[in-house]
C-alpha cells in the first residue's frame, strides 16, 4: 500500500492547496480554508508515508545499515516535509494569513528539485560514521528550512512594509502578519540557521576526519560545496553579529534583506552540490546517472551486500 504513494501524490495535494490559496486573491469562500487545509494535510500524510517507506526500503537495501536522510532525494523531500509542517502549524495558528502563497512554492520547489535533480540512491555508512552523518544531514536540513522560513518571512515583510509606507489599505484577499511578527521571525530564522549550520559544519568536519583516517570518502577542504557552505555560515554569522552591534542592521527591512541574501547563498550551495563536480557526497562517481534520466528507482536487487553508495549531496560537510 505505502509503495503506491508517489511524489506526484503529495506534490499534487500541495499544488491544489496553493491554487486554492491563490483564489483568495480573487473571491471569498466559506469552505475554501477547510478544503485547503484538508489538501495540505492529505499531502502531508502521503508525504510522511512516502518518506517512511523510502526509509524502510533503504534499510532493506543496505541490509539494516540504512538510515534516514540516506539519499540526496530523501534529504530534499524531508526538508520539504519539515517546511510543509511549519506551514500547516502557522496556518492553524493564523488562519486568516496567506502563508501558503509564500511557503507552498518553496515546498513544491524542494520537491521538484528532489524529483528531477537529486540522487534517489541511498548511501551506506560505517557504523561509527552513521550517527555523525545523521547529525550532519539533519542539522544542514534544519538550517535550510530556517533559511527558507526566513525568506518567506522576509518577502512578506518587504511587501507589508511597502504597503504601509505607501499608505495603502490591505489588499483584498491578501492578509499578511504584522511587521513586528515578521521581523522577529526573520531574526529568529537567521539565528536558528546559523546555529544549526554551525552544528552541520562541525559534524561534517568530524565525518571528514573519520574518513581521512580510513583514507576513503575524504572530501578536500577546498571542495566547492564546503566553500559555499562556509560562505553561507559566514554570512549568517555576520548578519547576526551586525544585528547585535550595529543599530542600522536591526531595521526590519535590512533583516529581511539579510534573509533574502542568505537564500541566495543557500541556492548556490545546493546548486553546487547538485550540478558541479564535487567530491562531497561522492557526487563525482555518481554524476553519470543524471544523464540517463529518467532512471527507475533502485530495487533491493540493485544493491549487493557490502556495497556502498555515495552519501547525500548536501552542502556543508563530508559524507
Amino acid at each position: 500500500m505505502l509503495s503506491k504513494v508517489t511524489v506526484l501524490c503529495f506534490a499534487a495535494s500541495y499544488g491544489v492547496a496553493l491554487a486554492l490559496e491563490l483564489t483568495r486573491l480573487l473571491f471569498r469562500s466559506g469552505v475554501r480554508g477547510a478544503v485547503m487545509l484538508g489538501f495540505t494535510a492529505a499531502g502531508l500524510v502521503a508525504h510522511t508515508a512516502f518518506l517512511f517507506y523510502q526509509g524502510v526500503r533503504f534499510n532493506e537495501q543496505l541490509h539494516g545499515i540504512g538510515s534516514p536522510l540516506s539519499s540526496t532525494q530523501h534529504w530534499y523531500l524531508t526538508a520539504a516535509w519539515v517546511l510543509a509542517v511549519v506551514y500547516l502549524l502557522l496556518t492553524f495558528s493564523y488562519p486568516k494569513v496567506q502563508f501558503g502563497l509564500f511557503f507552498l512554492p518553496l515546498v513544491l520547489g524542494l520537491i521538484g528539485v528532489a524529483h528531477h535533480f537529486a540522487d534517489p540512491e541511498p548511501a551506506a555508512r560505517a557504523p561509527d560514521a552513521r550517527i555523525w552523518g545523521l547529525i550532519h544531514g539533519g542539522s544542514i536540513l534544519l538550517a535550510t528550512v530556517s533559511v527558507l522560513v526566513g525568506l518567506a518571512a522576509g518577502l512578506m515583510y518587504l511587501g507589508q512594509a511597502r504597503r504601509l509606507k505607501h499608505k495603502l489599505p490591505p489588499q483584498r484577499g491578501l492578509r499578511l502578519p504584522s511587521l513586528e511578527w515578521l521581523q522577529e521571525t526573520n531574526r529568529r530564522s537567521l539565528v536558528v540557521a546559523m546555529a544549526t549550520l554551525a552544528v552541520g559544519i562541525v559534524s561534517g568536519m568530524i565525518l571528514n576526519v573519520i574518513h581521512h583516517d580510513r583514507d576513503k570518502g575524504f572530501v578536500p577542504w577546498t571542495d566547492p560545496v564546503i566553500v559555499v557552505t562556509v560562505g553561507l555560515f559566514g554570512w549568517l554569522l555576520l548578519s547576526s553579529v551586525l544585528g547585535l552591534v550595529y543599530q542600522p542592521a536591526r531595521e526590519g527591512r535590512k533583516v529581511a534583506y539579510f534573509t533574502v541574501v542568505s537564500f541566495a547563498f543557500l541556492v548556490a550551495a545546493l546548486a553546487v552540490g547538485l550540478f558541479m563536480d564535487t567530491q562531497h557526497g561522492g557526487q563525482r562517481q555518481n554524476r553519470a546517472w543524471r544523464g540517463d534520466r529518467p532512471r527507475p528507482a533502485a530495487t533491493p536487487a540493485d544493491s549487493q551486500p557490502g556495497a556502498t553508495r555515495p552519501g547525500p549531496s548536501v552542502p556543508g560537510g563530508a559524507s
Binding site: 502578519p177 504584522s178 531595521e251
Partner: protein, 423 residues
C-alpha cells in the same frame, strides 16, 4: 401567525425623541414583563441602542397586538403621549419586518455600516427577552435566523472589514499591521482632540496601556492623563517622550510643525531603530512629512487616512449587493419555514388519518396469516410504512413549495376537504 416591528432609528427620528424612548437593560426587562401581562398570547423583543428603539412583537396564533397597541405600550413606558409619538414610529410587518431585523443585525442599517457593536446589541436584546420568557417560537426563530444571517454577511462579504472612520482605519488597517501586540507599547498623545481620544479608545481595546500626554498647557495635560490613566510630561520633554514612544497621536493646533526632520533625527539614535507609528491628525500638520521617509517610521496624516477611508467605503459599497442578496435569501428561507410551520396541523392530521387504515389493514392481514413469523411481520409493516410515506410525499411536497410564497390557505382547505381532515 404575525410578526411586526415598530420603532424609530437614526434615519428619521431626532435624537431628542430617541433619547426619550430609549430603554436601559433594566427598563427593558421591566417592559417585557409588563408586555407579557398585557398581551399574554404575544411575544416580544425590545431592542434599544443609541441609534434605535425597536419593539418586535409576534403571535403564533391570531394577529397579535396592533400598531396602536404597540405605540401605546412604548409611549406609556416613558409617560409620553401615544398620539405625539405615533408619527415618529415606523412599522413593518411580516417579511418586511424579518428583512428589517436581518438588515439591522447584519449592521447594514447602522449609522456606520459594518460597525460590529450592533450584533452584540441584538444578541443582548434577544437574551433579555429569552430570560424574561417574552420571546416565543416565532421570535426565537426570527432572532436565531437574524444572528445566522449576520454571521453569513460577515463571513461571505468584506463589509465588516472595511473601516470607514479615521480612528478605526488608523488602528485596524495600519497600526495593527505594524505591531503584533499593544500591551508592551508606549503611546504618546501630543495635544488633545476628539479624534485623538477616539483613536486612543481603539488602541485601548487592542490592549494599549502605557499613555503619555504632552500638552502646552500642563493643567490640560494633567487632566487628560488622569482621564486616560496615563502620565503627563512637560512640553519641553517632547523629544524625550518621542524617543521612548512606539505610537504617536498628534493633534495640536500649532501653525508650524512641532517636530521637524532635524529634531527627529536627534532622537533617532536613542530610538534604536524601533518602528514608530505616527498619526498626525493635526491641520496644519504637526510632523514634517519628510520624517515619513525615515526608516522604520510610518507617518500618516489625516488626509492619508481619509483617502484610505474613501477607498474602503468604495470597496464596501461594492460588497453591499452581495450582503443584500444574502439578506433576501435568508428572509425568503425564514418566511418559507414560518409559512410551512402554519401547515403543521394539517400535515399532522393528514399523517394521523393515514395511520388508522394502515393499522387496520395490517391487523386484518396478520389475523389471516397467523403462520407469519416476527421477521415477516416486520417486513410487511415496513413495506406498508413505505407505501404510506410515498403516497403522502406528493401532497406534502406541494405544501412545502406553496409555503415558500405564503401560507397556502387554498391548498390547506383543499387537503382538509379531500381527506376529510377534522380538528
Amino acid at each position: 401567525m404575525n410578526l411586526r416591528v415598530i420603532g424609530c432609528s437614526h434615519h428619521n427620528t431626532p435624537i431628542a425623541l430617541r433619547e426619550r424612548l430609549a430603554f436601559s437593560p433594566e427598563q427593558t426587562r421591566r417592559a417585557l414583563v409588563q408586555f407579557r401581562q398585557q398581551f399574554p398570547d404575544a411575544e416580544a423583543v425590545l431592542l434599544s441602542t443609541c441609534n434605535r428603539v425597536e419593539l418586535y412583537a409576534a403571535a403564533e396564533n391570531g394577529d397579535g397586538p396592533t400598531r396602536g397597541d404597540l405605540v401605546t405600550f412604548l409611549a406609556d413606558r416613558h409617560g409620553l403621549d401615544a398620539c405625539a409619538v405615533d408619527k415618529h414610529l415606523d412599522e413593518q410587518s411580516s417579511d418586511a419586518a424579518v428583512r428589517h431585523l436581518f438588515t439591522v443585525a447584519s449592521s447594514l442599517d447602522s449609522m456606520v455600516v459594518g460597525e460590529p457593536q450592533i450584533l452584540s446589541q441584538v444578541k443582548q436584546a434577544y437574551q433579555i427577552a429569552t430570560e424574561e420568557q417574552s420571546a416565543g417560537p416565532v421570535l426565537h426563530a426570527a432572532f436565531q435566523a437574524a444572528l445566522k444571517t449576520a454571521r453569513r454577511v460577515a463571513f461571505e462579504t468584506t463589509i465588516h472589514q472595511r473601516r470607514v472612520s479615521v480612528p478605526s482605519v488608523a488602528v485596524a488597517d495600519f497600526a495593527q499591521q505594524i505591531f503584533e501586540r499593544f500591551d508592551d507599547k508606549r503611546t504618546l498623545v501630543i495635544g488633545a482632540g476628539e479624534m485623538a481620544e477616539e483613536t486612543l479608545r481603539y488602541l485601548r481595546d487592542q490592549g494599549a496601556r502605557e499613555v503619555t500626554v504632552v500638552n502646552r498647557s500642563p493643567e490640560r495635560a494633567e487632566e487628560l492623563a488622569r482621564r486616560w490613566e496615563g502620565r503627563a510630561v512637560p512640553w519641553s520633554d517632547l523629544l524625550a517622550a518621542l524617543s521612548a514612544a512606539d505610537l504617536v497621536i498628534s493633534t495640536t493646533g500649532a501653525e508650524e510643525p512641532i517636530v521637524t526632520l532635524a529634531a527627529f533625527q536627534t532622537v533617532e539614535a536613542a530610538r534604536g531603530r524601533r518602528p514608530l507609528f505616527v498619526l498626525d491628525l493635526a491641520v496644519p500638520r504637526d510632523f514634517d512629512p519628510a520624517i515619513g521617509d525615515r526608516p522604520e517610521v510610518y507617518l500618516y496624516s489625516v488626509d492619508d487616512l481619509r483617502q484610505a477611508c474613501q477607498r474602503n467605503r468604495a470597496e464596501r459599497d461594492k460588497e453591499l449587493p452581495s450582503a443584500l442578496r444574502i439578506i433576501e435569501q435568508e428572509t425568503a428561507r425564514f418566511m418559507g419555514d414560518l409559512h410551512h410551520r402554519a401547515t403543521a396541523p394539517v400535515i399532522r392530521r393528514l399523517q394521523q388519518g393515514w395511520q388508522k387504515p394502515k393499522e387496520d389493514e395490517l391487523r386484518r392481514l396478520f389475523n389471516k396469516l397467523p403462520q407469519l413469523d416476527d421477521h415477516a411481520r416486520n417486513e410487511i409493516r415496513e413495506s406498508f410504512d413505505r407505501l404510506v410515506n410515498k403516497l403522502l410525499h406528493p401532497p406534502l411536497e406541494s405544501l412545502r413549495d406553496e409555503a415558500r410564497h405564503g401560507i397556502p390557505h387554498a391548498l390547506l382547505d383543499a387537503l382538509s376537504k379531500l381527506f376529510q381532515l377534522k380538528d
